[in-house]
């Protein structure tokens, strides 16, 4: 089987074959966005999470009528797909009130296309005790509403089991990603990102055998052909591996990522002991590290610099979605911080839909050349 093709096919449609198969088996798909939503809670007792994406969206003409054209194109694309009925297979969705754009997407979806079950989580902007307590309560309310609506069991034992399975799954993905650290990696950033995105787009259990096979095969796989530079890839939501593919086709191998939809910090293990809801609240509130969190700029900036050094990256590429206020403002500060640390850095602005390929290639070529590679 050509795994690359197989995974690529999975990413073509939110209701992919694995999703349909799970539904035929009686499982219930619940959509979610963004990384602050604890997908573990949607992986319990017959539920399974589907991270909301709009692959191949051709345009957002309908959505622009409602959200306007100055809202981030990820949310506009989701609304377009929603209005097109592409999420009709979902039996509900859970959003995080993480930014203005997602909040307003939720408001518009509530008015235009409300599913049987919908909820928006009130995510604090801080990570202290009061905030974690608040989010714990918020998740308890989510658990109650899921139980009330779907009749599923979100008790402590069920959640703890789901956390264990989640950790086990992420451990496989993480182990695959570790191969990118090597001086001569055998997996590209594009291939790896495809696996990570597929994990959010499909019932995880169905992917375990094929991911384990990839993990087993990687040590014996031939190293990649020579590349020009090792890059750390930073930014918010990116669910199209094709974007990384273009960068890598210019010789910039993405050896590490720090994305909302990537391996760091998303694949860290969740504590398996104690109250599972409290553990989930703390984990999801503290691990995502989005610029929407106040008070933590220095940690975020240092994190990028440390990761770049850890992965021996020659340079850092920051990609931000146009109209994203939090990443837009913070990227300007990240840029100075990374440059002051002596690491070459490139900032790219993009739309959700992959476009402007020629410009992207030129920017990447120039960046790699500016590093003397």
């Amino acid at each position: 089987m050509d795994t690359d093709k197989w995974f690529s096919k999975l990413l073509e449609d939110p209701g992919n074959d694995l999703v349909r198969k799970a539904m035929d088996e009686g499982q219930i798909p619940i959509g979610y966005s963004c990384s602050y939503v604890p997908d573990v809670m949607l992986s319990v007792d017959g539920l399974f999470p589907v991270r909301m994406r709009a692959p191949g969206v051709a345009g957002t003409e309908l959505a622009d009528n409602y959200l306007s054209s100055v809202i981030c194109s990820y949310t506009r694309s989701l609304l377009e797909f929603g209005l097109d009925g592409r999420y009709d297979f979902l039996q509900g969705w859970v959003f995080a009130a993480s930014c203005d754009h997602l909040r307003r997407l939720y408001d518009n979806l509530e008015y235009l296309r409300r599913p049987g079950f919908s909820r928006i989580l009130d995510v604090p902007h801080k990570t202290g005790k009061a905030a974690i307590d608040w989010y714990t309560e918020e998740l308890q309310l989510l658990a109650k509403s899921l139980t009330d609506h779907f009749g599923c069991n979100l008790g402590a034992a069920a959640l703890t089991k789901a956390i264990r399975e989640h950790n086990a799954f992420n451990a496989i993905l993480k182990a695959i990603g570790e191969h990118r650290r090597s001086d001569h990696p055998s997996i590209t950033g594009t291939e790896y990102h495809r696996l990570v995105i597929a994990a959010g787009a499909s019932p995880k259990k169905t992917l375990i055998p094929i991911l384990e096979k990839i993990r087993e095969d990687l040590p014996t796989r031939a190293p990649l052909p020579p590349y020009r530079a090792r890059l750390l890839f930073v930014g918010g939501h990116l669910d199209d591996p094709g974007y990384i593919g273009i960068i890598e086709s210019e010789g910039g191998l993405v050896v590490g990522d720090r994305l909302c939809t990537g391996s760091y910090p998303g694949l860290q293990p969740i504590p398996e002991t104690g109250d599972p809801v409290a553990a989930l609240a703390k984990y999801y509130l503290t691990k995502t590290s989005c610029p929407r969190m106040m008070e933590a700029f220095n940690e975020r900036a240092e994190d990028i610099v440390s990761l770049a050094r850890e992965y021996r990256a020659d340079g850092v590429v920051i990609q931000i979605m146009k109209f994203c206020d939090t990443w837009g403002v913070e990227a300007a500060s990240f840029f100075s911080h990374i440059r002051e640390a002596g690491i070459p850095v490139l900032r790219l602005e993009r739309d959700y839909r992959l476009g402007g390929e020629g410009q992207l290639r030129t920017r990447i070529q120039a960046f790699i050349e500016s590093m003397g590679k």
Binding site: V70, R104, D107, I120, R292, M294, T326, G328
Partner: protein, 471 residues
């Protein structure tokens, strides 16, 4: 109802307030001394623009007469007086100066004996006086990589911080209000200022007791933090006194709002919204604010008793949603004279907050917390829109007997832009004419005033079937 045209007394009134403003400025200059004044004019070049305040007075009084004219002049005079006091805070009380985000409660800072300075205030005031005043700051921020699509208020504020235009404060206090752009701007501002910063977190779904407890806890933590990082100490008796005065202000404002429900309205536009903006957002709990609102109430009562309409030939009553068009602040002067449009109330002023419970420190914090969470640009940017955004619009239309909704569709306000589609459908269903003005809050290069006039004119003539009064 009768209407009035400007006469000799109106001319004299204008000159009276112009002289009063100059007197205030002259007194500040004399107190500060020529050497220090010149030094500070160099340090804070935006003061030059503030000194041109009488040009604003002139633009806002054109064509207005009687008590309405006096009321608008009084409000501008009140702002001048207050700004001078804030400037004196920079000049003489810098050892207690803090910068705080514009929606945080100045009542608390003042009760702590601190001298608050709102960085966004200049971004609001300056373009009213000099329409292109903020362009250099917007450009400065963009040149340093701040995206041009971020709301121009935080963008200009970042630009001011980058150009070292703010006073050297002890600390910076911010929050996640009113929007992501505003919240994010303080990361940059705090870095530029190189000062300790504290952020207050306001829940999204703010109406529950749980949210109120959480936010009151945030305010308590903010007070502790300020006590650690500044010489400020909380004086609960002082806070109680300030809040009691704020309650008195709210009573006066409610009386004015009751009177402007009358058709045609005895008071309108800046006399209503600018007084709210200044008194409640910048100067709450001040004797000067109580006096200003009491005087406005008295003028409104006089007009009502005499059957005088604020806007001559009031033909249409409008709700303005979103902040007013700062770089074309005399839009309503033009709309009044051209189409007989009276701006009755706006989203920045209207609220349904309860009075502050001054019985204990906890009740003070909870009440203030509630006011912030339910305040303008707070409730409308959080909580489900179905519960907080549309109901306010439709309540205002009904309660104040309004004919149309004007949305000042500031291109950088993503919260508003993203609701325009649904609002359009809901207004259509309700039979309420809706105008969304495409423009930028403070950058006239995006849409100049002529472009705004054209949009309003098209709406008035094609949708409202209005005839121009000036032809």
């Amino acid at each position: 109802m009768e209407t009035t045209k400007p006469g000799l007394s109106d001319y004299l009134e204008f000159n009276k307030y112009r002289a009063i403003n100059l007197l205030h400025i002259g007194r500040m200059a004399a107190k500060h001394g020529p050497f220090d004044l010149l030094r500070d004019l160099k340090r804070y070049p935006w003061i030059w623009d503030l000194l041109k305040v009488n040009s604003l007075l002139k633009r806002l009084l054109v064509g207005r007469s009687g008590n309405y004219r006096t009321a608008v002049a009084m409000v501008i005079g009140g702002v001048v007086d207050g700004v001078i006091e804030l400037l004196e805070g920079i000049f003489y009380r810098s050892d207690r100066l803090i910068l705080h985000e514009d929606l945080l409660p100045p009542e608390i800072f003042r009760a702590m004996g601190l001298q608050p300075w709102v960085p966004e205030l200049l971004g609001i005031l300056l373009p009213m006086i000099v329409p292109d005043a903020m362009q250099k700051y917007l450009d400065a921020a963009e040149n340093e990589g701040i995206p041009p699509d971020i709301c121009s208020l935080p963008r200009a504020t970042i630009g001011m911080a980058m150009k070292n235009a703010f006073p050297n404060a002890l600390a910076v206090v911010s929050s996640n209000l009113p929007c992501d752009g505003g919240m994010s701007s303080y990361t940059v501002i705090a870095q530029q200022m190189k000062k300790p910063a504290y952020w207050v977190d306001i829940p999204f779904d703010f109406k529950s007791e749980r949210a109120l407890d959480y936010f009151a806890g945030e305010l308590k933590d903010m007070i502790s933090w300020l006590e650690k990082h500044t010489p400020g100490r909380m004086d609960w008796d002082r806070l109680k006194e300030i809040c009691e005065k704020r309650n008195a202000m709210a009573e006066l404002e409610l009386d004015i709002w009751d009177m402007i429900r009358h058709r045609p309205a005895p008071m309108a536009a800046e006399a209503v919204w600018m007084s709210h903006l200044w008194c409640f957002n910048v100067n709450p709990g001040y004797e000067a604010s109580i006096k200003l609102l009491a005087d406005l109430k008295s003028l409104t009562e006089k007009n009502l008793a005499a059957g005088v309409s604020a806007v001559p030939r009031e033909k249409y009553r409008a709700l303005l949603w979103n902040p007013p068009t700062l770089h074309y602040i005399d839009l309503m002067v033009w709309a009044e004279r051209t189409y007989g449009v009276s701006l009755i109330l706006d989203s920045m002023s209207f609220n349904r907050q309860s009075f502050i419970d001054t019985s204990s420190p906890d009740s003070l914090l909870k009440s203030l917390g509630s006011i912030i969470m339910q305040g303008p640009m707070a409730r409308h940017t959080r909580g489900p829109a179905e519960a907080n955004y549309f109901p306010d619009i439709f309540h205002m239309v009904k309660h104040f007997d309004l004919d149309m909704v004007w949305v000042a569709g500031h291109i950088g306000c993503k919260n508003t832009q993203a609701m325009s589609g649904v609002l359009r459908e809901k207004c259509r269903e309700a039979g309420i004419p809706l105008l969304v003005i495409d423009y930028d809050l403070m950058d006239s290069r995006i849409t100049p005033k002529e472009g705004i006039q054209e949009q309003v004119g098209n709406f008035m003539e094609n949708i409202m079937k209005a005839r121009r009064l000036d032809q």
